[in-house]
Structures are given as structure tokens and as C-alpha cells.
Symmetry: C2
Subunit: 432 residues, 2 copies
């Protein structure tokens, strides 16, 4: 990819994006799996997901866009380029949601990409590369594990069969659920897994408080922070809370408490609590779990994140050291649950997004993504970047998740300018 100046001015491309149309589509999509609390329950490969896919395909067909699907159910909508032999520039996200999710996580990125295809079509924009919208299958992972299943299988990070063998809480396999999706979505052209992509750009809500706090409409995402998850199990011995002096105890809770105190200190970010290091203890349980029994066992989770892979690894080593050395008189085992290396996006994509924002005279900031995204895996295949818009109160995975029509419109306009540049727009036949 070389930096090719767009022939069509950014303002003209952005002006073709229709905020009202995009907002209406988002609201229409939110009806598939809508919850009483104003959120969305549209888990992967569910009837609600099938209906949402049907809606999207309907909109694509109404426009005359071609629709492709692959073996894991990823859905592609294509606007042709002047050189159909070139790999497409792809943009999108996912349509599935958490069980008590919101209307914007995933859907914004998919529908913003679709809006760009429509805007380019309205504008009669001519571009060398094909441009495609994608909806990756099962990003959330709440029904079938792991999440980012569609992008992982597409990029080769997860074997197809292993993904299809995943089962939900009722015992249904992803294979069977996907067969129902395929049966309901006919006349989709086949797309081979791993088909080359020239560049990938994903628009997403931030899912955090940083842009809102900074009062900025656009986040230029520099990469996706890495994560290490651990489960630490501390074993001691239960005893009677009344009769056992503290000196005679092997109290698993107190050993866990000491370990966590040391973790808080050792893993504190040098920049303080606004710094990038993030440590979360989200699960904590005791056995036997009665008021008057000294706990024999404490089990807790550690979610550790950092945008720099080297630093993340150094912090993870500290976790293992602290668990191993501070449990006495109990013992502790530290089991790794998840390792996701930090991912830096290429400077040229980051700069291109920043430039698109600047060309529309929008203030922006560069920040790493705190959440995981399909972009994490597609970045293995091609130059990749992301665009963030603010999330009210930093909320997501929550029915109250919200970004305003204006914020959504702004994000889609930046996406359109960036996509046009990536696909190298060369002319437009102005319709509006």
C-alpha cells in the first residue's frame, strides 16, 4: 500500500454520508433482539442474529451490492472497484451482542461501513480497489467461545473445525447453529476463508471514558492493548473461626489478600491511575464460604492489560512471581487463562485515519484500544486500523450504552474519507 492522494476532496466524500439514514438503520437493526431495558440481546447465530443478517442482506440487495459469505458465516457486502482483481479494502465489525448488550457495539461499525458504500454509490465515486463491508461472526463470544470467532477463523488463528465444535449452554454446536443461518440466508456468493484483503479499517464505539472526558469526537486507534488473564488458586486449610488463633491458621483468604496487595503495588503504572496499565480482579470466591469458617481455598481472576507487549510480559512475570512467593503458609497456583499479545497498528494506517479526521477539521486523539476487536486478528492479514467515537459514561456491554446521532455521523464521515483514500478514489460523478 502506498499513500495515494484521493482525487476527490475529503469534504465532498464526507458530505455524501447521510447521518439520518445511518441512525435510522442503527435503530432498525436494534429492533432485532431488542430488550425491555432499551438494549439488545442478539447473540451469535441466534434467531435474532439471523433476522439482523437478513435485514442487512435486504438493504444490500436493494442497492444492487453483491453479498458474499464464508464457511464461518462472515458476511461481506461489496462495491466494485475499477480493478476487480485487486483485494478489497474492507471495513466493518460485528452484529452479535452480549446477552444484555447495547445498540452500538459492533452494529455501529457494520452500518457505518454500509453507509460508506451507499454514500460512495450516491456520489458515484470511482475507486480502484473494491470496497467491502464485513459483519464478522460471533465477536462477543457470549454464546459460543471463543469470541472474535469469525475473524480468528478467517485469519487462520482458529481452525474452522474447532470453532464449529463449540457448543452453547444448551449443548447446541456452532456447526448446527450456523446451518440454520445458512438455510435462512440464501443466494449468498461463496467467499473462501483467508481471501486476501488489501486493508482493514474498523469503526467502533470506544467502550471507555477517554474521548468523552477529553471532549473529542474521534479517537485514532494506535493499536489494541495486550491482555493476560490468570486464575490464581490459593489453598490453605479450613478451621473454626472461633477456636483457631490467627497464628495457627492457613487462611486462604488472607494469603490471597497479601498477594493482591503486592500485585496492586508491583503492577501500579508509573504514570499513576490514568496510565495504561490495567489490573482488574473481577472474580473472587472462597470455600467453604461460611461466615465462621477459615477459608480453605480462595480463587480469583486477574485481567492485566498493557498496550506494549514487552511491558505486558514483564508484568505477567511479576504476577507469577508474587503468587509463588507470597502465599505462605498457604500455597498458590497461577494458571494462565488467556494471552493476547499487544497489537500496534501500522503508522501509515494510523496516520491516514488521523489525516482523514484532520481533513474534516475534527479534533482527535491517538489512543490504544482497551477492548479486543476483530481488527486484532485481521491485522495479521493486512494493514489495519480503527476509528473510535465516544461512548457515553464509557459504558458498553450494557443496555444503557449510547453514542449520539452526531457522534455516529462524525465517525462515519471520517471512516468514509479514510476508506476512499485506502481504496484510492480517482473520480466521482456527482449525483446529489
Amino acid at each position: 500500500m502506498t499513500a495515494v492522494a484521493t482525487a476527490v476532496p475529503a469534504e465532498r466524500i464526507a458530505a455524501a454520508v447521510q447521518g439520518e439514514r445511518l441512525w435510522q438503520r442503527l435503530m432498525a437493526m436494534a429492533r432485532y433482539g431488542e430488550t425491555a431495558g432499551g438494549g439488545v440481546n442478539r447473540q451469535a447465530l441466534s434467531p435474532e442474529d439471523i433476522a439482523a443478517r437478513g435485514q442487512l442482506i435486504g438493504w444490500a440487495r436493494a442497492r444492487g451490492f453483491r453479498v458474499f459469505g464464508d464457511a464461518i458465516g462472515n458476511l461481506f457486502v461489496r462495491r466494485e472497484g475499477t480493478d476487480p482483481s485487486l483485494p478489497p479494502v474492507v471495513s466493518g465489525s460485528h452484529l452479535d451482542s452480549q446477552p444484555a448488550g447495547g445498540r452500538f457495539d459492533g452494529a455501529f461499525g457494520v452500518l457505518a461501513a454500509f453507509e460508506c458504500l451507499e454514500a460512495f454509490d450516491d456520489l458515484g465515486l470511482v475507486h480502484r480497489h473494491p470496497i467491502e463491508m464485513v459483519a464478522w461472526t460471533n465477536e462477543e463470544g457470549s454464546r459460543f467461545a471463543p469470541g472474535a470467532m469469525g475473524s480468528m477463523v478467517y485469519s487462520g488463528a482458529l481452525p474452522l473445525d474447532r470453532a464449529l465444535d463449540a457448543t452453547d449452554a444448551t449443548g447446541m454446536s456452532a456447526r448446527d447453529a450456523l446451518a440454520a443461518v445458512s438455510a435462512a440466508t440464501v443466494d449468498i456468493e461463496p467467499r473462501k476463508l483467508g481471501t486476501p484483503i488489501s486493508a482493514y479499517l474498523e469503526a467502533h464505539i470506544e467502550q471507555g471514558p477517554i474521548l468523552e472526558a477529553a471532549g473529542l469526537p474521534i479517537g485514532v486507534v494506535t493499536g489494541i492493548q495486550g491482555a493476560r488473564w490468570f486464575e490464581i488458586t490459593v489453598e490453605g486449610a479450613t478451621a473454626h473461626a472461633g477456636t483457631t488463633p490467627l497464628a495457627s491458621r492457613r487462611d486462604a483468604f488472607q494469603a490471597a489478600h497479601r498477594i493482591i496487595a503486592a500485585l496492586n503495588e508491583a503492577l501500579a503504572d508509573p504514570a499513576g491511575p490514568t496510565g495504561p496499565t490495567r489490573l482488574t480482579i473481577g472474580r473472587f470466591e472462597l470455600e467453604p464460604g461460611s461466615v465462621n469458617s477459615v477459608p480453605a481455598l480462595a480463587r480469583f481472576s486477574i485481567d492485566l492489560r498493557h498496550p506494549d507487549s514487552g511491558q505486558l510480559q514483564a508484568l505477567a512475570v511479576r504476577v507469577e512471581e508474587i503468587a509463588a512467593t507470597l502465599a505462605a503458609p498457604c500455597t498458590a497456583a497461577c494458571k494462565p487463562l488467556l494471552t493476547i499479545p499487544a497489537r500496534r497498528f501500522p503508522d501509515r494506517v494510523v496516520d491516514l485515519v488521523a489525516g482523514a479526521s484532520q481533513s474534516l477539521r475534527l479534533a482527535s486523539m491517538r489512543l490504544p484500544s482497551g477492548a479486543f476487536h476483530d481488527a486484532q486478528f485481521i491485522a495479521e492479514l493486512c494493514p489495519t486500523g480503527m476509528i473510535f467515537i465516544p461512548s457515553r459514561d464509557g459504558l458498553s456491554h450494557n443496555e444503557a450504552e449510547y453514542s449520539s446521532p452526531e457522534e455516529i455521523f462524525t465517525g462515519a464521515r471520517v471512516l468514509a474519507v479514510a476508506l476512499a483514500e485506502l481504496a484510492a478514489s480517482i473520480e466521482s460523478s456527482w449525483k446529489a
Copy 2:
């Protein structure tokens, strides 16, 4: 009660106690509710409890002892004194167990008292006061709450109707369960609740590690430590573990961690970890409880014990202060769950037990009871004391609970000497 010298030498009284007979009775009793793991599941007013009561009544009748029962199912076995109008000296404990309990907790105190009655009978001991063995109903409280139900109702600490209204996990009331007990145990003479007692002495396993560690056969119990139980609920806000900087969080786990760190410091015993202050965090839970969600809620229990009521109260005030002041930016509520004031036994009873031990040339130590006992409530009615024997590894409420035949024999001999003195033995017609 005045200190009356026994007319019969301690050695002669102790020599009438038969260790083998007591051990065999304990093993026979352990068959009612025996578990595969070598323990006992004989919960209050269960079929196993009914069978155990039937066994005890059978042994009493075989000896010609009278058997009494009251409205809450407490069972008394009486050996008459020379002055039947005097209130009896009573000794015993309970026959019910925890669901995965041991063979000695409760049963030792009941059967040691029964052995004393038999030993006195074998010896032809004459005593002024009647001497009675008691088996209090439902000390453990694992099936019907609260525990110590029989002694609380007898002493007036709990209204009979409230006790009978208690229901178990299946919805059965203590009233109905007790009716089944009454139907199965016929020809019991009635005993009015609260009938005066001249003195109460309870033998029990220590349920802690102190005597074993000190290598001493007898614990002279100075009282029962008080307890304060609290439930602390910390409320924060959930957030995405990846996207939310620490500075933006209201992390309920971390607030709970700070509170507990402060409690550990403020409630540390001046004498160090061998001192009497006991703080236990036995339950701890987080919501929503997922690895990558900042906890919105943390809820944990505090079990705080001290043998001095004033000091216990001062420590409890600190708990409430710390919870109220250290939760920011979260909020915390501190809910009292249980208040049991510390109980000091009268010096004269403590000294009498120490003297009985010394008269048999047994080494002993004075210590408060860390566990609750029926003696806690009977102490409201009359001069009360307790005798402890060692518990292997400090274990109880555990199938592996164990005290050796020798330890049990020794405890019963001290109990016999002390009971004879309390009842003022005045002669014996030596049979052996």
C-alpha cells in the same frame, strides 16, 4: 453455692469412671448417622437424632435412671440426690451434629455426663443434689436456625414458639420435626422449661489447636468469647476491564480490599497472632463476577471474636468506622448479623474445675472457649463452667474430628470429680 469439700476422695471417684465403657458408647452413638468418611451426619430432630435419643434413653432405663423431657425436646437423665427438693447439678451437651460432622462434638459431653452417672451408681456415691445428664436440642443449628436452640429456649433467651416456627431447607417446621421425636420417645416424664438448676458443667472437645499444641490433657474454660458478625456490602460501578483507566473506576473489589487491609491493621491483637482477637473473612463475593468486568458490588462477611465484651465492642465500632470511611469512591454498608456478648464463667466454678484436675495430678491450662456452646445460655440460670479435652489438629465440624480414648477418659474423670463436688458427695458404698 459454697465450696464444699467432697467426703469421698477424688481418686476414688475418678477410679469409678470406665474409659472403655465410655469409648464403646461413643462409638455406638457414632453409628447413628455415620458417614462413609468416618464422621456423623445427625442433624437435629432427624431420624438419626431420634434413633440416638432412643439409644440414650434405653441405656438410662437399663440403669433405672429417670428420664425427663421438655417442650423443646431437651432430654434429662437423673440420678437422685439425698435431697430431691434441691435443684439438680446438670452436665451434658448435645447429640445433634453438623451435616459433615464428627463423632465427638456434643456426644462426648453427653456421654461423659452419662458415664459419670453410671460411675456414681457403680460406686454407690451418695450426693445431696440430684445429678442430671442433659442432651440439649439442636445445638448446631445446621438444620433449624438458630443453633443452641434447646438451651436458649430453656433459659428464656428464645421464645418457644419462635423456635418451633423455624423451618428447615425442605420447609418442615421444628414443631413438626419435634412431634415426630415425641412420638418416638414415649414415657418421658415432663420437665418444665426453665426448671431451676443449681450448677451446670459441660465437657466438650476444644475444637481448636491450643491444648494439643501445649501438650495438656485438660482445659479449664474461663468463659466463652463474644462474637460480632457483619456483612459489608460495597457498591461501585461495573466497567470494561480493558477500556477503563483505573482513575475512572469505582471498583467495588478494590474498595473492599482497602477496607480489609485497614481492618487487618486496626483489629490486630496487641499480643500478636497468638492473641485472643480473632478476625475471619469467610465469605466474599463479587458481582457481576466476570474476569473482564470491573466489579460493581463486593459483599463479604466479618466474624470478629474476643473474650472481653468491652474490647469486643470497641473493635466492632472500628469495623463500622472503617467501612464507612474507606470505601470512597464506592459506598459501603455494614450490616450486623450476630451479636453474642462474651461470657465469663464464675471464678468459683473455674477454680473448682482446676482443683478437680489438680486433685488427679493432671496438668491443665485456663483458656476461653472460642466456639459457642449451650453453656453460654445456661450460664444465665446458674453457676456454669466447662471442661475441654484436646482436639487432634484442632479439627471439628469435620469427619476427621478426633480425640483419643485416653483424652476422653481423662476428661470424664475430671468431670466426675467436679460433679461430685458440685453435688456435694457425702459418702460412697464401695462396690468394686
